[in-house]
Subunit: 295 residues, 2 copies
Amino acid sequence: MGWTFEAWNEVKCAQVEAALAQWVPEQAPADLGQAMRYAVLGGGKRLRPLLAMAACESVQGEVHAALRAGCAAELIHAYSLVHDDMPCMDNDVLRRGKPTVHVKFGQASALLAGDALQALAFELLTPQDGSVSAAVQAQLCGLLARAAGEAGMAGGQAIDLASIGQQLSQAQLRRMHELKTGALLQASVMMGAACGNASKAQLTALQSYGQAIGLAFQVVDDILDVTADSATLGKTAGKDALAGKPTYVSILGMQPSQDLAKHLHLQALAALKTGELQQTQALHALADWVVARAY
Amino acid sequence: MGWTFEAWNEVKCAQVEAALAQWVPEQAPADLGQAMRYAVLGGGKRLRPLLAMAACESVQGEVHAALRAGCAAELIHAYSLVHDDMPCMDNDVLRRGKPTVHVKFGQASALLAGDALQALAFELLTPQDGSVSAAVQAQLCGLLARAAGEAGMAGGQAIDLASIGQQLSQAQLRRMHELKTGALLQASVMMGAACGNASKAQLTALQSYGQAIGLAFQVVDDILDVTADSATLGKTAGKDALAGKPTYVSILGMQPSQDLAKHLHLQALAALKTGELQQTQALHALADWVVARAY
């Protein structure tokens, strides 16, 4: 029987869920642990961990390190959703079909849970048991910090905030998304690569792959915000348009947005063929999935 | 002329201010850079960087690594103040004699600036120019993440939140403060130690020193919240009592709190004599200052 994405995905997702359930602490003080676990467990596509593990496979790296790296990226993603949903930001009450963290636990606990999840990401990257070399730990921390901070996700969110009700050029919109979601998706790929001894050609290929799917993800997100309903999305549909946020669809129109997604998809697949990568089935399938996903 | 704390402090503070001014980026998107710099620059006692640099001296470690480590701890401290001041937490409008970040920049920007400062802390610890070894980078990231997260600062804040209007035992109050402020102060000391090849005896001594002054700091803070006025403190005085927060003064009374501070002071100084440490003048003077400070 040959390799199938379904089987790979099932095995990897189970590993990620088990790892997160173990690493996000139940016993944190007061309701902090509960709020952190609520924000992270039992939902989400786990795209970032899957990307890290797929990239690790493509350079025959250390699987357990990539699992940590991917889960760390997932914690950064999860914390950003918690803070993003708060009343002073998007003020959203529904996420993955459940009440958002601040609705369930209160704003103060949501704020703290997000803060603690960001710290926990760096705890995951620095295990004290010798299972990940110091060199890899340092590289992973450096990649994740830069993807999360002002030159990455937080910077993108600042542009997003400042753009409400503004006209953005396509270049400005692209810049916003490269930071807001692209940087962390790309870092997930590069962290996976850092778990092996990737060659320069391999790193270049993965960089290009990560950039293309990072952007494709957001273009598809903007399309789905228009075409899908809240039940399918598990979050409030149409909210970007409602909030006056510029999107690919609002700037380019629907058909050109769909064309752009296809173009980025092909770009990602082309990158996989250039870099002397080993096993690329999972990276290939994830690129397909990012563009074809219906939710 | 002999060593004086005043001269040492002046030199080190100038280094810290210059480093922070360089490392906290002005050019971050939208007003994110401004908000981050407003939160960090031009104020604060810089106790955490001073502790890191003093501890580094005591084990003859790498000074430039300790400067990074101390500034990283300072960024974690600064972000915690930004988030702590927000309306959903302490709702404070005055900090270091200036309007708090959310008053000046709005809540959304304050939230993001805090998030970005936490990420920036780990960026500082992972310079890409080879100036800090991977082994030291990994150790520093591990220490800082654990001090900032659910088993450290964020955990302590969760207890703090849950304790408003509650009766705490002295042991519970101590546990709260060990996490909320003690963990990061102690981590500052241990990060300084990680910048050198500290012996086991040296690490034990510094651990004990860090624990004592971490707690002493909070006891003195509680005393000052009662005895000092807002202008001297640069923040709203008496707010803990007003908010129904348990403090050392409310639980033990004023005189026993002052006795406890003195006891912890002596404990810190005793630790410095046990560990074959090299230069301990600065650590000694910082312990004096933590207890004797009038603001």
